[in-house]
């Protein structure tokens, strides 16, 4: 069977209402993930403009918690702010290598489902677009199933790697939902497949087992007689040879790009695995230059009737197959799904032993510093927290949070810390001795308290026009990815310069209150629909928050800004209690509002003085208006 990964993800998202999505990967390209995977997760039309797709992704992330776990050495974060958490994982002397999609949600009958896919595809364009990858998936409903147990343990293991996790973040939410799984099985999964069909399905996560082989023997209760395995990478194999002694082995190697001539399987591995010289090896046939990154196993057992197929992240290497491959060291974090299943293997061709390189290659081992620094930012407490993982062999490390504050010193005796500060860039820089500096990715937690601006802002006049028109169509934000609008662009698309110009224009209070009235009625009608309410308050490009932000960042008269902020704040404050996402922004707006009030009072004072009036009454005057506004707003909004 063949699939396009994105089509499969799209199909799954249409089956259940997604509450949480967790992705694991070795490599992670932020731009790729944000531009391709997240839009698919939220069912977006690929014909949309990039700016609109981004806007809708931001809206989706308001409601669905997303977390990405990947190896700390292979992250390319994007420069844009998105409301999801990236957890760089450090496993001393080893790598974090599983490639999973874990989706949690409810079907139309409100039944809770966990969907899990194990793959060989990383969260990169190569993984999801170019390579030939392996893919296996299943639905979990009952805690009695082995995959449910394995997944619960794995989520717990992931939690142990984070400094802290927010209660509403993806991982904690997934764990909480996992605890809600029922004992009883359901006859069919949401796609209509009977549960009996998957009674032999097993989910493997390496940190909970000695090795993939020991796991297989435990689960299928019999000794292995035949193994057919395909892998792009090969390596040290002493322990594999012992494990598979007297097992009939057939290996398939992958021609490596760009030449697609050489393979990574070396003579050393072949000699160890085929001591009797009965060598049985092949390579993938050429598929228009595509790299076969698939890790595929077919296993026969002595007393188990069926062949078992395994697909996931385990390369045919010791770290790939053995979690404990010696007394002291761990293998890679890996995941696989095994099941009785038929799969047509892609075509292979013969591989001449004489053409093999002398030694096998495992290109996936990163060459990085032997320690790691984990940095988190908690939006709830507005605190950074950091932790040294492993030991610094020599000297100390300087941690720069890239927010203008002084670098922090870390050493083996100074391993962790915490401080309140602003999260400015979502990246940090580490310096160690004369090594080139390393860029790391800050893990953001408690994202429902984030006050970050997501997406490109639209101009105040566009928001006003949208409100006046009943906000039927969400205005498309301008794209910052391109040059300023050229002949090809929508002539209505405005850039930031235009926004500032607009804000400098005369404030039409009649128009503003007319628009506000329309939007108040709209929001009032939505008060029982939390999801939509939050979008109208802070999620849409023409939300109440967007209006407040447009004026805060603009060049309007301070009195105008005060009026707009006053109204927006008043409206948002009514909904802060049940919506922490809104509450976080209200807190921030209140600070601005207070500062602005003082400025406006000063302006009134100076005006009164210039007219020879008593300037001491300035504050009282504004307070009088404030009270009048409050009573009007509450009457209107009731």
């Amino acid at each position: 069977m063949t699939i396009i990964l994105r089509d499969r993800l799209s199909a799954v998202t249409q089956i259940i209402n997604i509450e949480v999505a967790i992705f694991t990967s070795f490599n992670f390209h932020g731009d790729f993930f944000e531009q391709n995977i997240l839009p698919t997760l939220f069912g977006l039309d690929s014909n949309e403009t990039q700016a609109m797709r981004e806007q809708r992704v931001h809206r989706g992330l308001l409601h669905t918690r997303v977390g990405v776990f990947c190896d700390r050495s292979k992250i390319q974060p994007s420069r844009k702010a998105y409301r999801y958490s990236i957890y760089p994982i450090f496993v001393e002397g080893s790598i974090f290598h599983p490639k999973n999609v874990i989706i949690v949600g409810r079907d139309t009958q409100g039944r809770l489902w966990f969907y899990i896919a194990t793959m060989s595809a990383n969260l990169t364009l190569s993984g999801w677009g170019r390579n030939c990858e392996g893919f296996a998936d299943t639905w979990i409903h009952s805690r009695q199933e082995q995959p449910a147990l394995a997944l619960g343990e794995f989520l717990g293991w992931l939690k142990s790697k984070a400094i802290k996790t927010g209660k509403t973040d993806a991982l904690e939410k997934a764990l909480a939902l996992h605890a809600e799984l029922r004992d009883r099985r359901i006859w069919e999964d949401p796609e209509g497949a009977p549960w009996k069909d998957k009674e032999n399905l097993r989910l493997y996560f390496s940190p909970h087992h000695k090795s993939m082989w020991s796991f297989l023997r435990e689960q299928y209760g019999s000794s292995i007689t035949d193994v057919k395995a395909a892998s792009p990478y090969w390596g040290e194999s002493d322990q594999i040879a012992i494990e598979l002694l007297n097992v009939c082995i057939h290996l398939v190697a992958a021609p490596m790009p760009p030449s697609m001539k050489a393979v990574n399987l070396g003579a050393d591995t072949v000699n160890k695995l085929f001591p009797s010289n009965n060598i049985d090896i092949a390579q993938w046939s050429d598929d228009k230059g595509r790299f076969h990154h698939v890790k595929l196993y077919e296993i026969k057992f002595k007393n188990f009737t069926h062949k078992i197929i395994g697909i996931g992240s385990c390369n045919f290497t010791q770290p790939g197959q053995f979690w404990r491959h010696s007394d002291r060291s761990f293998g890679n974090v890996e995941s696989m799904i095994f099941d009785v299943n038929k799969l047509d293997w892609p075509p292979t061709k013969s591989l001449d032993v004489g053409t093999l390189p002398p030694t096998s290659k495992d290109d996936e081992q990163p060459k990085l510093w032997p320690f790691n620094v984990c940095v988190q930012y908690d939006w709830k407490t507005k605190n950074f927290a950091w932790r040294l993982e492993g030991n610094i062999p020599d000297g100390s490390v300087s941690l720069n949070l890239c927010n203008g504050s002084k670098p922090i010193k870390l050493a083996n005796h100074l391993r962790s810390g915490e401080k309140a500060d602003k999260n400015m860039s979502r990246v940090f820089i580490l310096r160690w001795k004369a090594e080139p500096p390393l860029e790391g990715c800050v893990t953001e937690v408690n994202l429902d308290h984030s006050t970050e601006s997501y997406g490109n802002p639209i101009a105040a006049h566009d928001i006003l026009d949208s409100w006046l028109a009943g906000a039927i169509v969400e205005p498309c934000p301008p794209s910052k990815d391109m040059d300023p609008p050229t002949d090809e662009e929508d002539p209505e698309a405005s850039d930031i310069g235009e926004q500032e110009q607009e804000n400098a224009q005369v404030f039409d209070s009649f128009k503003f209150y007319q628009a506000l009235n329309i939007i108040l009625a709209k929001i009032h009608a939505l008060s029982s629909d939390r999801k939509q309410l939050v979008e109208w308050l802070i999620g849409r490009s023409d939300s109440i928050l967007s209006m407040a932000t447009a004026y805060r960042n603009g060049r309007a008269e301070k009195a105008t800004e005060w009026i707009v902020l006053h109204e927006c704040l008043s409206l948002m404050s009514r909904h802060k209690r049940n919506n922490p996402e809104v509450g976080a922004h209200v807190k921030e707006l209140e600070v601005s509002y207070q500062k602005l009030t003082n400025i406006v009072i000063k302006e009134i004072k100076s005006d009164l003085e210039s007219r020879g009036k008593n300037s001491k009454k300035a504050r009282g005057l504004l307070e009088w208006y404030d009270n009048k506004f409050k009573s009007t707003s509450s009457e209107n909004g009731a």
Binding site: R6, N47, R130, G134, P257, I472, E488, E492
Partner: protein
């Protein structure tokens, strides 16, 4: 489910964005010498018709139903839906404007509505007629910034010839005012008068002369009219380069303007192909790409010198950006294939940085090229200034529109 994956080409495209070297402002600036108002997306006379009809009738509708001026967009989107669904209902010809996919997979009959699922496109306002055709009409001064038709005679003529639009007013008003927003039914079957009236208008294009006079044969520049006439002489579209060569022969008085187009493209097109060549070397070293790229540096140098002779006299809003970008391209080092490739790559990195985007391709930690796109090696002719061609200069739009509304066709 167990499976192996297939290549996902649309995925690569979605990431690709466009214009990695930031040259679009340059060729667009140059294109305005010959096609002053059209854009690549405003290629159908139907779009201009719906725009003009909508704007002509909006003041009447607003007065009758006392709708505020901001309802103009709602009115227009609903009218566009009525035209589209009537065309489908009639079934004699296809709806060629944006939205066909959703139109033909949706409910039959003629109905209109303002909920997201009623729209012809995810963002009908931006990606439909309103977003694509207003800009060119505004630039041609056919309409003004307040969405009024500039010529009152034209407005009267449009209204006189499309009186049946008034029959839609009640449905449009009902779609705007219903709460919650509801569908307004207009017709179920093609036999109803309004279906024929709306779809016949799309088929007959009664205001094609206005479209022709403004976009295809404007008074100024004269070369636009001449190029449109030349396009009509040709049975099928020739390649743009040979079309311009032919025009230079035919209209020597305009040769300098036309040669500017050639000079511009002779330098830009190979640079874009060189960039693609670099991308296609994903996983390999830059030196390998430099050693194997089949380019003739002397030819590219000649193209650069010609490009430098080009002038930027005509003022345009984006002239500044166009000039800045062309100056950057002129600084490329052409000492060797290696320096040229490095210049192209560095230029792309600068453009990406300015846009705050991750680059499509860069040199990774291992010294190998790391490209995030699936790019095929461009054919050799795309790397030579004299055979490469990439950009349309809106000539395609001009030729297509010219044929669609030619006086010959109307006979």
């Amino acid at each position: 489910m167990f499976a192996v994956t297939l290549e996902d080409r649309s995925l690569s495209l979605a990431l690709s964005g466009r214009d990695p070297l930031g040259i679009m402002p340059i060729w667009q600036h140059r294109a305005r010498d010959i096609v002053p108002f059209l854009t690549a997306a405003s290629r159908l006379a139907e779009g201009f018709h719906i725009l003009l009809i909508g704007l002509a009738w909006w003041p009447v509708f607003a007065t009758i139903h006392k709708r505020p001026k901001q309802d103009i967009v709602k009115f227009f989107l609903l009218l566009e839906q009525a035209f589209a669904r009537a065309t489908r209902c009639n079934g004699e010809f296809e709806w060629k404007l944006p939205g066909a996919k959703r139109l033909y997979s949706g409910e039959s009959g003629v109905w209109i509505g303002l909920r997201s699922e009623h729209f012809l496109l995810d963002n009908q306002q931006t990606n439909g007629v309103w977003g694509l055709y207003r800009g060119p009409a505004l630039n041609a001064k056919l309409i003004d910034a307040s969405n009024q038709i500039c010529n009152p005679t034209l407005e009267s003529e449009i209204k006189a010839k499309t009186r049946f639009i008034e029959a839609l007013f009640t449905s449009i008003n009902s779609a705007i005012t219903s709460s919650p927003l509801q569908v307004a039914e207009i017709a179920k079957y093609r036999t109803k008068f309004i279906v024929g009236a709306l779809s016949n208008l799309i088929s007959e294009l009664p205001f094609k002369r206005t479209i022709r006079d403004n976009f295809v044969s404007p008074t100024q520049p004269e070369i636009t009219r001449l190029l449109a006439a030349l396009a009509l002489e040709q049975k099928a579209d020739s390649e743009i380069a040979s079309f311009i060569d032919l025009a230079i022969d035919r209209y020597p008085a305009h040769s300098s303007v036309l040669r500017n187009i050639l000079r511009c493209e002779h330098y830009l097109a190979p640079l874009e192909a060189i960039f693609e060549y670099i991308c296609s070397y994903h996983g390999r070293y830059l030196t390998e790409a430099a050693n194997s790229i089949p380019i003739d540096l002397a030819e590219i140098m000649k193209a650069r010198d010609d490009f430098q002779r080009d002038d930027y006299q005509r003022p345009l809003p984006n002239q500044g950006l166009s000039k800045i970008r062309s100056d950057l391209l002129l600084k490329f080092r052409l000492d060797s294939s290696r320096t040229l490739i490095e210049s192209v790559l560095n230029h792309h990195l600068e453009i990406s940085k300015a846009r705050r985007n991750a680059p499509w391709v860069c040199v990774g930690e291992s010294g190998r090229l790391d490209c995030r796109l699936s790019v095929r090696t461009p054919p050799e002719e795309q790397l030579s200034p004299w055979t490469a061609w990439r950009n349309s200069y809106y000539i395609d739009t001009l030729r297509g529109l010219s044929r669609q509304i030619s006086p010959v066709r109307s006979k």
